[in-house]
Amino acid sequence: MRWRIGPLLTATALFALVAVLAVGRPASAHSGAPLLILAEQAAGPYTISVWADPDVGNGRLFVEATVGGAQVPPETTVTARVWPDDGHLPEATYTGTRTSSPLGPERFTVRVPFDAEGVWWVQLAIRGPAGLGEVTFSVTATPAESPFSVASLLCLAPFAAIAALWWWGARRVSANPRGTGR
């Protein structure tokens, strides 16, 4: 039997692409790095910055706090009192864990299992030897899975058009070997 490598390659490539798309799943539904919610805002004696990964079911708040430009003392704790704007759940309190990273400063991570999309209120409290600092803000929880909506697939249309043009152009130029200019 004659070995037809073209169709074989195409089928293999398509299978591999489908497999990667089926197996791989984005872990951050809002696509990308956490959102900056508060930037270097005063909260009692602390200066805090807050980022949010507000995915339904697996939300995270990242808190970076300093006192007078220095890291907060080790005894410092962060808690978040969270309640939905529409009141469908009573408020709940979550405690942050302190982590240090070789690639950045120490931060507190508070895991908040938002159960639904929409606006949620967060009252963040920082307690420690330096005193108490509180700040309240809202975040909008987003669906946990959002990568490829049908509507977003329309974004691929221009790419497909350019790919077709590119292919057509390559055939056109190859039909004219004296071409590509000079």
Binding site: L9, A27, S31, P102, P147, F148, L156, G181
Partner: protein, 480 residues
């Protein structure tokens, strides 16, 4: 419409010269266009340096980090994809040389031993390494110092040496732009080769009173493609016959044949340019890999293996693996399969130096997907930064209180799809190029010659799609 005469164009689009169009034509022929663009970017650069050194040191709240790492890089790839090497054209680092050269004339000649891309390759690799090691994206102060260092280096080298050796041989951004522009849709080219044949002054190269010729030593009559062209427009202004224009061409078509290029030579015989393309392509994957969670697991594992708590040896090992070992293995393997399946007898290195250029569209696709993801997802982030700056400077919210919730320029659910689109388009372009090369090499059985390269490009594309689907780490948001 003005045509390219003297040699028949391959297709009608190659006869389109945008310097003959209304509005755009006079704009590109305006002698001060480049200076105006440079001055504009110079002012932006000065603001970035000032804010980077004196402003808040939280990356998303500082202009130095947001504009440099989100907006500038996004505009660079957009310009390369839609136009050409626009950001070398508007390079602010070169503008201060204009008043300086009236005082001091460059007299030294760039050493012959350094007239290659090797130094540029090393500097670009060093830049990518420093970007990861020092978390440049997260440090306004370091970002500002990088900009200052760039001005100092460009001024010193181009101020002391004749021509523009910093641009041609050293500048990491320039080398990136040169490779990216190989698949740009526009190229600076002569309009009528008959005019060049009868020209006795060659002002496009030598320059004339009050007007520089090409400082990158590209002689228009023999120039081919975009490699080393900074789109400075000097040749357009210098030509006394108005015979140089900006024309359309098929993106990447300059890579499937090895013409002798003025100021460059033959690409397929330039290992330094080949190495630059390898760095461009595999560096794109490495840069994307540096953003996702698995890199931290790999770093921790390597650190344990090496028994170190220092980041640089771990990062160095990852860089050597990704930029030297991996390309050598993959390209060597594809070249070996190419020889085995096509039956051609030639050194592996010769095969690699020909087919490596097929990876340029894929590399550009990866860079575009990556940079435009950040560009689009953080586009409006500059608004609260400026609002915050105004509050800090004046004490009053003249532009409103900072809206830190602003960000994406497109619906967030589009972002992954757009990323996939750029990766797919780059992959497609690489497959087209590889097939063209295969058909040229083995016309009787092109699929056999094409298969190894299609396999390689397919594997790289799948790796990039996998990277795209990984959770992104907190980089770019925390202060280093």
């Amino acid at each position: 419409m003005s045509g390219i005469r003297g040699v028949r164009p391959a297709a009608e689009w190659e006869a389109v010269d945008i310097t003959a169009w209304p509005v755009l034509g006079p704009l590109f022929r305006w002698r001060h266009l480049r200076s105006a663009l440079q001055l504009l970017l110079l002012l932006v650069a000065l603001v970035l340096v000032w804010d980077g050194l004196t402003g808040p040191q939280l990356a998303p709240t500082n202009l130095a980090t947001t504009v440099t790492w989100l907006h500038y890089r996004g505009f660079v790839v957009l310009a390369l994809l839609a136009f050409g090497n626009a950001f070398c054209m508007a390079c602010p680092f070169m503008w201060p040389r204009l008043p300086l050269e009236r005082l001091v004339r460059a007299r030294l000649v760039w050493p012959r031993s350094l007239r290659s891309k090797w130094a540029g390759v090393l500097l670009l690799a060093a830049f990518l390494f420093a970007y990861e090691l020092f978390d440049l994206w997260a440090s306004p102060r370091w970002t500002a110092w990088v900009i200052v260092a760039y001005f100092a280096a460009a001024l010193t080298v181009n101020g002391l040496f004749r021509g523009a050796p910093f641009c041609k041989y050293l500048c990491p951004i320039g080398q990136f732009n040169f490779v990216g522009s190989l698949i740009s849709p526009l190229e600076i080219a002569v309009r009528d080769h008959n005019v060049c044949a009868s020209c006795t002054t060659k002002d496009c190269f030598r320059g004339r009173e009050g007007q520089r010729g090409c400082e990158l030593w590209l002689f228009q009559e023999k120039k081919y493609g975009n490699m080393d062209c900074t789109f400075c427009l000097d040749c357009i202004h210098a030509c006394p016959h108005g015979n140089v224009g900006i024309r359309f061409r098929l993106p990447g078509s300059e890579l499937w044949q090895d013409r002798l290029r003025s100021g460059v030579g033959r690409l397929w015989r330039r290992p330094d340019v080949g190495a630059l393309v390898v760095l461009f392509t595999f560096g794109a994957l490495l840069n994307a890999f540096g953003m996702v969670s698995p890199v931290y697991a790999l770093e921790a594992w390597l650190a344990g293996l090496l028994g170190t708590t220092s980041e640089w040896p771990v990062l160095g090992l990852i860089f050597v693996g990704a930029l030297v070992v991996e390309p050598a293995f993959l390209l060597g393997g594809a070249a070996w399969l190419f020889r085995a399946w096509s039956g051609r007898e030639e050194p592996l290195i010769a095969v690699i130096m020909r087919y490596v250029y097929a990876l340029v569209p894929f590399g550009m696709g990866v860079w575009s997907a990556h940079y435009l993801f950040h560009f689009l997802s953080g586009f409006w982030g500059v608004v609260p930064v400026v609002q915050n700056l105004v509050v800090e400077l004046t004490g009053s919210p003249w532009l409103g209180m900072p809206r830190w919730d602003l960000g994406p320029a497109v619906p967030v659910e589009w972002l992954n799809t757009l990323e996939l689109g750029f990766i797919a388009l780059g992959t497609w372009g690489s497959l087209l190029l590889a097939y063209r090369l295969a058909r040229r090499d083995v016309p009787q059985a092109p699929w056999r010659a094409f298969a190894p390269w299609a396999l390689l490009i397919g594997v790289l594309a799948l790796v990039d799609v996998w990277l795209m689907l990984q959770p992104m780490e907190m980089r770019g948001t925390f202060l280093a």
